[in-house]
């Protein structure tokens, strides 16, 4: 690996892409750094966040869930109340504005659960850009509603039939298509992974989650949280909420991966807990792989966490022990869905339910004075079929 530099998080990160893409990632970095220095870009983005997406999103004190857990106070950062139903729009608005500024006419993106695809299709419609979304055939089956939403928004959804037919392979295909059309096409990556500058750029556009939550908590209770909990697939909502607190050493940070059927099985997506360092999709990070370096299929009930890689900054935060990474099983996540529905009247995305499950466990170990901040990254409407099917099986 080359010497540590601005494009790395410790030894992780970098840009392991085909030479054909190098000029594009270098141009992108330049354009991104210029844009964020430009007050008019910032003002355009701020306006979209406020008048289009509905920011700031609320901070909800989960009173009944707190009573149920019987320990620390649980606060939910309500990214589920964003336009399109998840935090993904924070990033797609930022990147699409940047794409427009760079004179690109076409957006391409990968999607797993379909949330990033919907958020990309949405901004493409808003900013009058062409949009192609690559989605694994398996995910298309699991998330039909989101496929239809993307098509309604004018995007073309292209099924990916190679490999595991999920997010990993959709990302491969989006990268291949980007290589072929790099001159007029902007690759709108959905999470904090991929070649530099994507991990830094996506984090930049997502950090508003934690910045807002910190200010909201200070206003409401006058202090910082004791624990912050977020689910980690690629890791964008987690980087989004963690970033504001990284320097606050009293705040404990928890990343929750998808434990699938359990970490003792091969069916999980717990990249940080069970993986090892390697290169996938342009970055050096933790990946789930065999001893020969072949990337393995991840498993989770939640299509959005079903990814055998993770953002390189998470790899760094794991090794430096700043963030504790744990895993929650499919079963525990489903229980958390029911609990949040019954106690708070909130249907969380299966992804976010992993964070809720971990927060309940943590709350039980903490005193009533302590505060746990949870990133409720998305709403669960898209998962109703999956949840119903699972509950049906159990009967």
């Amino acid at each position: 690996m080359s010497t540590y530099a601005h494009d790395r998080f410790g030894k992780f990160g970098g840009r392991y892409v085909a030479e054909t893409l190098m000029n594009a990632v270098l141009e992108l970095e330049q354009a991104f750094l210029e844009a964020i220095q430009d007050p008019s870009f910032q003002e355009d983005l701020r306006k979209l966040y406020v008048h289009y997406s509905g920011r700031p999103t609320p901070l909800t004190f989960a009173k009944r869930l707190t009573e149920y857990a019987g320990g620390a106070q649980i606060y939910l950062k309500r990214e589920d109340l964003n336009h399109t139903g998840a935090h993904k729009i924070n990033n797609t608005l930022g990147q699409a504005l940047l794409a427009k500024r760079m004179g690109k006419k076409k957006l391409i993106a990968e999607t797993g659960a379909g949330q990033h695809g919907v958020a990309t299709a949405t901004v493409a419609a808003l900013l009058d850009m062409q949009c192609h979304i690559y989605m694994g055939e398996e995910d298309i089956k699991r998330q039909q509603l989101n496929v239809f939403r993307m098509e309604l928004l004018g995007a073309k959804v292209i099924p990916v039939t190679t490999g595991s037919r999920t997010l990993k392979d959709a990302t491969n295909e989006a990268l291949r298509q980007w290589v072929a059309q790099v001159e007029d096409t902007f690759y709108l990556m959905g999470t904090v992974t991929g070649p530099h500058p994507y991990p830094q750029m996506v984090k930049y556009f997502q950090r508003i989650i934690g910045d807002e939550a910190e200010a909201q908590l200070k206003e409401r209770v006058g202090r910082l949280p004791n624990d912050v909990v977020a689910c980690v697939g690629g890791g964008s909502n987690a980087m989004g909420i963690f970033t504001a607190f990284l320097e606050e050493t009293t705040v404990r940070l928890h990343g929750v991966e998808a434990g699938g059927k359990g970490l003792h099985t091969d069916e999980h997506a717990a990249t940080l807990s069970k993986g090892s360092p390697g290169v996938l999709h342009g970055t050096y990070t933790y990946v789930i792989q065999d001893e020969y370096g072949q990337i393995q299929v991840a498993h989770s009930i939640s299509a959005g966490l079903d990814y055998p890689g993770v953002g390189p900054e998470h790899a760094y935060l794991k090794d430096s022990k700043r963030v504790k990474y744990t895993a929650v099983t499919d079963k525990e996540a489903l229980e958390a869905v029911s609990l949040l529905c019954r106690y708070e009247g909130i249907l969380p995305a299966l992804e976010s339910a992993h964070a809720v499950a971990e927060a309940i466990k943590l709350a039980r170990k903490r005193t009533k004075e302590e505060i746990i901040l949870v990133c409720l990254s998305g709403r669960g409407d898209k998962d109703v079929e999956t949840i119903r099917a699972y509950k049906g099986e159990k009967k």
Partner: protein
């Protein structure tokens, strides 16, 4: 002078560098193919290591990679193929072609040590751009294995730096996109190849999409060698049944060699 450089000297244009996916359809077949291709006078042979996520490859090589993985071909097997052909007296330059991750898990130092002992003559890593290559380049130099770098039509002002640091030869990507047979190439390609050729102290080879004698003749006007991947991989796949049948193998091998020889006409 090393084997790769000598081969460029000894062979005349049009020089052909075939690419094969190791173990597709079988390791034994790969060994035979290398020996026959060597006899047919190819300038070097690229031996692919399969990878689960080959993002620089089009459908043909993706499928070959999947088939090789299905047979559990690993980096170790590819090195052993090299050893087998060297043991049989084959002196054709061999270039290991692999995505970075399988090499990292094998261990870079061990890989280069083994590759050098066996008698490999170069290394190509399609997801290792110049900017990430310094450490591996140094290791490669230490073990005397040239690290061959890519330039693409989008490389622009970085060409100069890359051709200076590449070893063995410079790998020119013919056009945007992944590997795979192309029917035509953009007219701007000629001036791009001329630019690279002018700036490069090393031989220049062009690849991605080259499939016919016409393509070979066209590119040989501008550069020192052409790399033929998908077209050959496709042909090998079409002949897999004969290649796997000991009674029919030699005929299938002859057909494949004929295809490669005809590329030079």
């Amino acid at each position: 002078m090393n084997r790769l450089a000598s081969s460029f000297e000894e062979n005349a244009n049009p020089r052909i560098i075939p690419f094969m996916m190791t173990g597709d359809p079988h390791l034994e077949v790969t060994v035979e193919l290398i020996i026959e291709l060597g006899r047919a006078g190819v300038t070097a042979i690229e031996l692919g290591v399969p990878f689960s996520d080959p993002t620089a490859d089009g459908p043909v090589i993706q499928a070959a990679s999947e088939r090789a993985l299905h047979q559990q071909i690993t980096c170790y097997d590819v090195l052993q193929v090299g050893k087998a052909v060297r043991d049989r007296g084959c002196n054709t330059p061999l270039i290991l072609f692999s995505y970075l991750n399988p090499l990292l898990q094998y261990g870079l130092q061990k890989l280069l040590q083994d590759a050098s002992e066996i008698g490999f003559d170069g290394l190509i890593i399609p997801d290792l751009p110049y900017e990430e290559s310094s450490e591996i380049r140094e290791l490669c130099m230490q073990y005397g294995i040239p690290l061959i770098l890519f330039v693409a039509p989008t490389t622009k002002q970085r060409i100069e730096q890359i051709v200076k640091e590449s070893q063995g030869f410079v790998y020119c990507v013919s056009s945007l996109g992944t590997t795979g047979i192309r029917s035509q190439f953009a007219p701007e390609i000629a001036s791009f190849l001329q630019t690279v050729k002018e700036k490069s102290p090393l031989p220049v080879a062009v690849g991605f999409g080259v499939a016919t004698p016409k393509h070979v003749a066209y590119f040989s006007q501008y550069v020192d060698a052409v790399i033929v991947g998908s077209a050959l991989v496709q042909l090998i796949h079409e002949k897999r049944e004969s290649l796997l049948d000991l009674d029919k193998r030699s005929y299938a091998l002859q057909d494949i060699i004929k295809f490669v020889k005809e590329l030079r006409k």
